[in-house]
Each structure stands twice: as structure tokens, then as C-alpha cells.
């Protein structure tokens, strides 16, 4: 199954490389939000570790989950539905890592944020990014070929993503401010969410792919 997951993921990533508009739009979206935030609430509040972390993760969650067209084409691919789910989750995670890396660096530079624990921050961001795709792909699959799916996906996904977003925000904030134990605790929670939802997705989502 791992081969088939890799095959689906590779196909998705090739498509992303050929048309990198999604990644560019995602990074631009994060940059615009950071700039707007600084203007609206003022640079002092915008540089607050909690505020900056929350905005970064909300931007990341909002940005990718509306992208559901790619799955339409993938459904026609040969191979198991579990591989389809796994491949889509893997490719989305890789793309999100890229967006988070560029968007995160942009946020750090634009807000001139000091990073107390860079390694912890890296772990939290990586696990936060890995924790989002399983839910997003589940909800994209559920809303596939439905009327009003553009509105339905965020309605379904964002409430389910709340624990991950809270954990990612708190973990990032802890890493920025030097709370090593807090950062690792939230990272552990993110890892647990990623594992649970990936297993749940691989088990039940194939039934929903038509």
C-alpha cells in the first residue's frame, strides 16, 4: 500500500510543481494577513507570540482546505481508495510544509519576532502541519461533488480542526517565548491527533470515496 500511496502523492506533487499557483497564493495570503494584522491591531500587539502564532495557523488552515478540485481527478486513478486518501494526505502535508516554511519565515521577518527555541519551533510547526491534512482530506472527500461544497468544507473542517489549531498555536507561542516543556507537550498532542485521524481516515474514508 505504501507504494500506491507514494504513487498518488508523487502524481499530486508533480501537478503542484507544474502549476505552483496554489503555493504562491498560500504564501501571499499569509503575508497579506500579517501585514493587515500589523496595520489593524498595531505592531506591538501583532508581535505578541500568541497573536502571531494564532494568525499563522488560522491562515494556514483557511488557505488549503478549500482546494478540493484536485481530488476529482484522483478518484479516476487506479489503486485502492485507502491509497488515494493516504497519497492525498501525504502530498498535502508536503505542500503545507513548504507553505509553512516560507510563510513562517516571512512572518518572522515581517513581525521581527525573536525565536527563543528554534528547534522546538521546527518540531511544533512540522507536527502541526502533519496534523491538519487528514481532517482536510476527510472533509474534502465528504463534500466531493456536492452543491455548495466551497462553503461546506470549512463548515465541516474548521470545527474539527479546533483542537489541532489550538495545540499548534499554543505550541508555537511556547517555542517563541522559550517554554520548552510547553512546546513539546503541545507537539505531542499534535502528533497524537495526526496519528489518530490518519488511522481513522485510512479505515473509514475509503468507504466514502465513490
Amino acid at each position: 500500500m505504501i507504494d500506491r500511496i507514494a504513487l498518488v502523492a508523487a502524481r499530486e506533487l508533480r501537478a503542484e510543481r507544474r502549476q505552483p499557483d496554489g503555493v504562491v497564493a498560500a504564501v501571499t495570503f499569509i503575508a497579506v494577513l500579517v501585514l493587515l494584522e500589523s496595520l489593524v491591531v498595531g505592531p506591538q500587539i501583532a508581535r505578541d507570540a500568541d497573536v502571531a502564532s494564532a494568525l499563522f495557523w488560522l491562515a494556514l488552515a483557511f488557505d488549503r482546505e478549500l482546494e478540493d478540485d484536485a481530488l476529482e481527478g484522483l478518484v479516476a486513478l487506479p489503486g485502492g481508495r485507502d491509497a488515494l486518501f493516504g497519497g492525498k494526505v501525504l502530498s498535502l502535508a508536503v505542500v503545507l510544509v513548504l507553505v509553512a516554511a516560507i510563510g513562517g519565515l516571512l512572518s518572522l521577518v515581517l513581525l521581527d519576532l525573536p525565536v527563543a527555541l528554534p528547534l522546538h519551533l521546527l518540531v511544533v510547526v512540522l507536527l502541526g502541519v502533519v496534523a491538519l491534512p487528514p481532517i482536510v482530506v476527510v472533509d474534502v472527500v465528504l463534500a466531493l461533488r456536492l452543491r455548495a461544497r466551497a462553503a461546506l468544507v470549512p463548515i465541516l473542517a474548521l470545527p474539527v480542526l479546533v483542537p489541532q489549531l489550538v495545540a499548534a498555536t499554543r505550541g508555537t507561542s511556547a517555542a517563541l517565548t522559550g517554554d520548552a516543556l510547553g512546546a513539546l507537550s503541545w507537539a505531542g498532542l499534535l502528533f497524537a491527533f495526526a496519528v489518530v485521524y490518519t488511522v481513522v481516515g485510512l479505515t473509514i474514508v475509503p468507504a466514502a470515496i465513490e
Binding site: 463534500a143 474539527v160 473509514i204
Partner: protein
């Protein structure tokens, strides 16, 4: 292969009138105990009596969504329309009770905290749970094919249940205005006087009977609707 017949010989229509009588009688008894028998709270005064509505509504919200989860697993496992009927019935009733749970909480919060609503973990997670199951019903409403609708809803019903323990434990995980659990406490016995505890238990039982009655009625309606759909097709 989907079974396209309504299960025969279901006991629901036969027990429903008795369930209704039991639910109504126990509801009257629970309300009388809450209003007249339970003692006045030393700190909150009579305002606390809303606990006998608020806590059973919370219990029913949790129960309803756990039933959605179990029925969803059963649908994916057995593909019997009865389980889908149970899931949709419980989700609708759960949304109703979660809405009432939020309203009852607000009515209690105003005299106690001085506000109708505050950004507090229990309130926010409950509101998220409410939105989540409204989304579940929306997902069902937008799907037209029976089998696909049931399967999609079942997958979401399984994923969404994670919010139930989060709502319940949110007061322990975060610094919260909301009081800590008084009955299901990790350490020690319930922090309630015996008459208060008895009244609360009677209320929980009465509201559970109301849930059971609503479920029996709604499941029957859903099965009849499914039957009409299949007759037409």
C-alpha cells in the same frame, strides 16, 4: 449491497406510548423536585436550580452524539438503513438539546457571571460542537442519494465525536470561569448535598426518557420516509 426494506416487527410503535407517558410523568416529578424539594444553594440562591435543566441537557447532548457515532459505525459495518435512521434522529435531537444547553447556560451565566456569553472554554467548545453537528445535518441535506448520504454522514459522525470529550474535559484543561465537575469528579465523591444529588439524578433519568421517546418517534418517521423513497424509486 444495501438492504432496501424497513425492518419488520420493530417494537418501536408498541412501546412509544408507554415511553411517552413515562417521560412526561418523570419530567413532571423531576421539575417538581427541582423547584420545590431541592434545598436552596447557600452561595447561588435559587438561581442554581437551572442546574437541574442545564446538566441533563448537557448529558443528553453528549449521549445523542455518542449514539450518532455508534450508529455511524454500525451503518458502515452492516449497511442497514435502521442505523442511518438512528444516526439522523439522534443528530437532530442532539442539535436541539445542545442549543437548549447553550441557552440554559446563558440564562444561568447572566445572574452568576454578569454576562450572557463569555469566551470561556466550555462555552466555546460547546458552541463548536453545536456548529459541527449543524454541519453534519447540512452534509446530509446536500446529499441526494440515500446510500452515499448515509455513508458520508457516517464518516463525519465518527470524526466529529472527538469533540464530546473535549467539551466535557475543557474545564479541566484550561483556566476556566465555568465550575469544575461536581458529580463525576476525579477525586472524591460528588460535591452535592444528598437531596440535590437525588434531584439531579431524577432529572437525568427524566430527560433521558424524553430523549428515548423523541428517538423512537423520529426513528419511526425516518424509516417511513426511507420506505416512501424506495417505493417511489
Amino acid at each position: 449491497m444495501i438492504e432496501t426494506t424497513i425492518p419488520r416487527g420493530t417494537p418501536l410503535p408498541r412501546i412509544r406510548p408507554w415511553l411517552g407517558i413515562a417521560a412526561a410523568a418523570s419530567f413532571v416529578v423531576a421539575s417538581a423536585m427541582a423547584l420545590f424539594w431541592a434545598p436552596t444553594d447557600a452561595v447561588q440562591g435559587d438561581v442554581y436550580r437551572i442546574l437541574y435543566v442545564h446538566a441533563p441537557l448537557a448529558w443528553l447532548a453528549y449521549l445523542a452524539f455518542v449514539v450518532v457515532f455508534l450508529a455511524s459505525v454500525a451503518w458502515l459495518w452492516a449497511k442497514r438503513p435502521f442505523f442511518d435512521a438512528v444516526a439522523v434522529a439522534s443528530a437532530e435531537i442532539g442539535v436541539l438539546f445542545t442549543g437548549l444547553f447553550l441557552v440554559a447556560g446563558s440564562i444561568w451565566a447572566k445572574p452568576t457571571w454578569g454576562v450572557w456569553w463569555t469566551w470561556e472554554p466550555r462555552l466555546v467548545t460547546t458552541a463548536i460542537m453545536f456548529v459541527m453537528y449543524v454541519g453534519y445535518l447540512l452534509l446530509r441535506g446536500l446529499s441526494t442519494d440515500f446510500s452515499r448520504r448515509a455513508t458520508r454522514a457516517a464518516v463525519f459522525g465518527i470524526v466529529a465525536v472527538i469533540d464530546v470529550p473535549i467539551v466535557h474535559l475543557s474545564v479541566l484543561w484550561a483556566n476556566s470561569l465555568h465550575q469544575l465537575p461536581t458529580v463525576l469528579r476525579i477525586a472524591g465523591s460528588p460535591a452535592l448535598d444528598t437531596p440535590m444529588l437525588v434531584t439531579l439524578m431524577v432529572s437525568l433519568g427524566a430527560y433521558t426518557l424524553v430523549y428515548a421517546y423523541f428517538m423512537s418517534a423520529r426513528v419511526s418517521l425516518e424509516l417511513a420516509r426511507q420506505g416512501r423513497l424506495w417505493t417511489r424509486t
